[in-house]
């Protein structure tokens, strides 16, 4: 059974919405979807034998000085389809794309009790760099970690 990735477009935006409804106890606003759409290749839908079962959605952020960093807004795979390597494919895609484009920093927030997610990101070289208290409202625990990873530049500019 094959795994494949596809870009997010306005025509299939509903697929991402359906995924998010199923995956997260959070309602995402229009800005989230606008950011996802404008991030281009940094947002991808993951397909398992032609069924859309997961997605990674990123936002590109300008740092002071003009450099760009990637913020992973969401990454998730539908429960029955976990453990098949789809999340890995999605994250690897973003990591590779980032280093190809000489982006040096990639980060995300994760709820402090989400051990599985933390372990998952650590495997890819992410480290906890900060703890923010009361980041979330309405869910417990309300605290989150900032996980980030610095990417080596592949081909330094001359």
């Amino acid at each position: 059974m094959g795994i494949s990735l596809d870009s997010l477009r306005d025509k299939n935006l509903m697929q991402l919405k359906k995924l998010n409804i199923a995956l997260f106890p959070v309602r995402y606003n229009d800005k989230y979807y606008a950011d996802a759409l404008s991030s281009g290749e940094f947002t991808k839908l993951g397909y398992y034998s032609d069924i859309c079962v997961g997605a990674i959605a990123c936002r590109l952020e300008k740092k002071e000085g003009g450099a760009v960093r990637v913020y992973i807004m969401t990454l998730g795979v539908l429960a029955p389809y976990r453990g098949l390597g789809i999340g890995t494919r999605l994250l690897n895609h973003v990591l590779e794309l980032s280093s190809r484009q000489n982006i040096s920093e990639i980060y995300l927030h994760v709820q402090t009790n989400n051990d599985d997610a933390i372990a998952f990101y650590k495997k890819f070289g992410f480290e906890i760099t900060e703890t923010i208290e009361n980041y979330y409202t309405n869910i417990t625990p309300p605290d989150c970690y900032v996980l980030s990873k610095l990417l080596p530049c592949v081909n330094s500019k001359k």
Binding site: K11, M14, I21, R27, Y28, V53, M73, L75, V110
Partner: protein
């Protein structure tokens, strides 16, 4: 062309023609204006300018200019040709042909005009004319292959296949021996195959065969060659050779059902109705076991045995067939299996198979008896299959449970939403069905099928306003598909189902118009005055719906009427690119709705004479028109087609009741009644029986069927109006028995929702008995809890539509909203193991 102009302008004229052909209309108009500046009355330029304007949607100017151009230069074949082209663009083909003919009077050998003329002659089925024109073209340019083939095709269409063969033979005679050259081989081969098919068609099988063997080397399309060859061999009874050929064809494509059927025919193992003897079944079983082995990739070899196997063997084969398709995820699996539901007992077996597969997957993640872990999607596809199974069984509540579970499992699969919509539709909740279809549509905005389906569901749910928004977008697709179907079927004897479907309601609308003309036309008339205000309102609503439908239908009809060469009136209704009559008001202002309806009825009678509906329409129409003998003809047809149908019964009783209650006065009427007296003897039901007795017999014969009881009750009321109460009891006392199929999850009942709705309408409109209608409604609401019509407790009317369209973005209560974190950043990785 443009010959009367000085060189500079003559060149400009060429520019106009060239620009028209290359669709550079602006450039063409510029050039035309440049000429007209100097020669404002130049006929050909005026015409060409008009033709160009026609292409940029300035129709009225176009006609004006083309006509003025023609008036200024009546002797110009260009002006006439242009006039013809203009008419053709408006599908006024007869007018166009007249113009072409005038052009040809001036320039008889003009190839382009001849070619245009021949196309329209073919379009209008003027086949003799078509042959003549093609002959002229061939005489003018005998060195073009197309002209030979065109001439042959003309004769072929004109039912003269042998003449067509002669022409192709003559054409071959003009060729050198080393023909064809490398780049012409394909076309030449096609011509040869065409010739062979003509020979086959005219029954010259030996000659066809001889020709095939002789020309084999020159036929490039080897697949068609084999198909053609095997068809001839089988017709010649050479079955052994046929068998070999079919096997080699299966080697090329092991999923072509026709090859399997052909092979079976060669082995004398085929019958049309699929009712094989047990000996034949075991022979077929052996045959397909072999074929399965030989063509291991073939789905057809695994699917076909499901048609002839029974019992345990069927169960085995079905399970083996279904398993890999569930693993692979084939959304069309149920439609593939659905014909089996008409076979006795197979639905039960399938249900058992599906349930076993589902529970095994749920328990172990594997199919029964297998160690192989199934992919996660298999459970979803199994639920999807089960949902459709229960839908087919009429067990809508279970179907909905299954489909909802599938959606919860994988909420991104669009087919799940489409099917849920269909289940709700059949369960009677049209509004919810439309909501689901719309949800499916939003999930892939680029999918035209989903878009059309959504529009259809909204039309069904009468959500006209919403639908209008998208309608514009979809219409062209519908139209073109309808049109292309018609093109294909035109001239052949069976009408496409779609047209029949469209014409029927149209005729009924015309009849309704006749029965109760619009308020504007005649005010409140007798038909409505006896009704309660609420009913009047309902009637009007219904009329409005009918109007809307009539409009839509008529648009489609316009297209079709043209292509079939219908009357002028029909043509007037044709769908223009811009709908000039968006609310169908003009359409409703027909002077004589019945004669309009008659026109369409004729189409039906010509094209679908085997359908009950056609004759029911004919009956109702002719009764209204007082055409007694034509109505009687319809009754006879109905009895011949199906004397047990409730509608046939209705027409029979209504007819003779009407005859007996009207006295014949004039000579003609007396003549008619004597004809009917004689004919009456030929109708077995009526022998020595009064109509009341006929009706009673009918009831006794079909006392367990709702629709038959309703018909008998209605006729009882017609025959003996004072027995209204008895008639109503007949309907209300009908029992909704359990169907003789054994659903393992709850009983399946016999009543169909559409039937119950029509009974409700009967009670309301014919019996005009609000109490009975109401008690029927309450009664039906129990059986059809999802029905909005009956206001069932589970319908969206009661529960609210919101429950069917999920909130856009999940649960609001969990919103993350402290401004600092606009995008809740949660990562769904519980249980993640990589």
């Amino acid at each position: 062309m443009g010959s009367s102009l000085p060189p500079k302008e003559a060149n400009l004229f060429k520019v106009i023609v060239k620009s028209y052909e290359t669709k550079q209309y602006k450039k063409g108009l510029k050039a035309a204006d440049a000429i007209l500046k100097k020669f404002p009355e130049h006929g050909e330029t005026l015409s060409m300018k008009g033709l160009t304007l026609n292409c940029v949607d300035r129709k009225s100017e176009a006609y004006e200019l083309v006509r003025r151009g023609l008036k200024n230069d009546l002797k110009s074949h260009v002006c006439w040709h242009v006039y013809g082209l203009l008419y053709r663009s408006d599908r006024e083909y007869r007018e166009a042909i007249k113009c072409y003919r005038n052009a040809l009077k001036i320039d008889p050998d003009n190839i382009e005009i001849l070619r245009d003329l021949s196309l329209l002659q073919a379009q209008m089925r003027d086949l003799d004319g078509f042959v003549e024109t093609r002959q002229q073209l061939l005489t003018l340019k005998p060195n073009h292959r197309t002209n030979w083939i065109g001439f042959a095709v003309a004769h072929h269409l004109n039912s003269n296949s042998s003449k067509a063969v002669d022409i192709l033979d003559a054409y071959e005679g003009t060729l050198e021996d080393d023909y064809p050259s490398e780049n012409e081989r394909c076309e030449h081969g096609e011509m040869l195959l065409y010739k062979v098919s003509l020979l086959e068609e005219s029954g010259l099988l030996d000659r066809a065969l001889e020709e095939m063997y002789k020309k084999e080397a020159k036929i490039v399309d080897k697949l068609s060659f084999k198909e053609q060859l095997v068809s001839i061999l089988v017709k010649l009874g050479r079955k052994e050779e046929g068998e070999k050929l079919y096997k080699s064809l299966l080697q090329m494509n092991p999923d072509n059902y026709r090859y399997f059927v052909g092979l079976q025919k060669c082995l004398n193992l085929y019958c049309e109705d699929g009712l094989y003897t047990s000996e034949q079944v075991s022979q077929l079983d052996i045959l397909y076991a072999l074929l399965k082995e030989q063509y291991s990739w073939s789905y057809a070899a695994k699917r076909i045995p499901l048609d002839f196997l029974h019992g345990e063997k069927f169960q085995q084969a079905a399970e083996n067939y279904v398993r890999p398709l569930l693993t692979k995820g084939v959304p069309s699996l149920f439609s593939d299996l659905s014909p089996l539901y008409d076979h006795h007992g197979k639905a039960d077996i399938l249900e058992q198979v599906f349930i076993e597969l589902e529970s095994s997957i749920r328990a172990s993640g594997c199919f029964p008896g297998s160690e192989q872990k199934e992919p996660p999607s298999t459970l979803m596809w199994s639920l999807f299959l089960l949902a459709q199974h229960y839908e087919r069984r009429g067990q809508y509540d279970i179907a909905l449970i299954k489909i909802d579970e599938a959606i919860k499992h994988t909420p991104t699969v669009i087919d799940l939403y489409s099917i849920k919509g269909r289940i709700l539709k059949h369960a009677g909740d049209l509004a919810a069905a439309a909501a689901l279809a719309d949800e499916a549509r939003t999930m892939d905005l680029a999918d035209r099928y989903l878009n059309s389906e959504c529009v259809l569901r909204m039309l069904e749910a009468d959500q006209m306003k919403k639908q209008e928004l998208q309608y514009v977008d979809v219409k062209p697709v519908w139209m073109s598909s309808l049109w292309s179907i018609l093109c294909l079927y035109k001239g052949s004897c069976h009408a496409p189902l779609m047209v029949v479907k469209a014409i029927n309601p149209l005729c009924r609308c015309y009849m309704k118009l006749h029965d109760s003309p619009l308020k504007a036309a005649g005010g409140e008339d007798g038909d409505m005055s006896g009704l309660l205000p609420a009913q009047k309102r309902k009637l009007k609503q219904k009329q409005k719906k009918a109007e809307a439908r009539a409009k839509k239908e008529a648009e489609e009809k316009g297209e079709e009427a043209n292509s079939l060469g219908m009357s002028k009136t029909a043509r007037r209704q044709q769908a223009k690119p811009v709908d000039l009559d968006p609310h169908g008001e003009k359409l409703l202002q027909v002077e004589d709705p019945l004669s309009e309806a008659t026109k369409y009825l004729k189409l039906l009678q010509n094209n679908s004479s085997q359908s009950l509906e056609t004759h029911i329409l004919s009956f109702e129409l002719n009764m209204r028109k007082q055409k007694i003998l034509l109505a009687f003809q319809a009754v006879k047809q109905l009895l011949k087609l199906d004397e047990n149908s409730p509608d046939s019964h209705r027409c029979l009783i209504k007819f003779f009741h009407r005859i007996s209650s009207s006295a014949s006065e004039t000579e003609t009427e007396k003549l008619i009644s004597s004809v009917l007296e004689a004919e009456r003897l030929n109708i077995s039901q009526l022998h020595g029986n009064s109509l009341v007795e006929v009706n009673r017999d009918f009831l006794l014969r079909h006392k367990d069927s709702l629709m038959h009881r309703a018909a008998a009750a209605e006729m009882l009321y017609v025959l003996e109006p004072d027995k209204k109460h008895e008639a109503l009891q007949l309907i209300l006392e009908t029992e909704n028995n359990i169907a003789p199929v054994n659903g393992s999850l709850g009983p399946v009942r016999q009543w169909k929702i559409e039937e119950c709705i029509s009974v409700h309408k009967l009670l309301e409109e014919v019996f005009v008995s609000p109490e009975s209608a109401n008690s029927w409604k309450t009664h039906c609401a129990q059986y059809f809890p999802y029905s909005t019509y009956f206001e069932g407790l589970k319908s969206s009317l009661v529960t609210g539509l919101a429950s069917y369209s999920m909130p856009e973005n999940g649960d609001l209560s969990h919103q993350v909203g402290d401004g600092r974190t606009p995008n809740g950043n949660l990562h769904a990785f519980k249980d993640l193991s990589i």
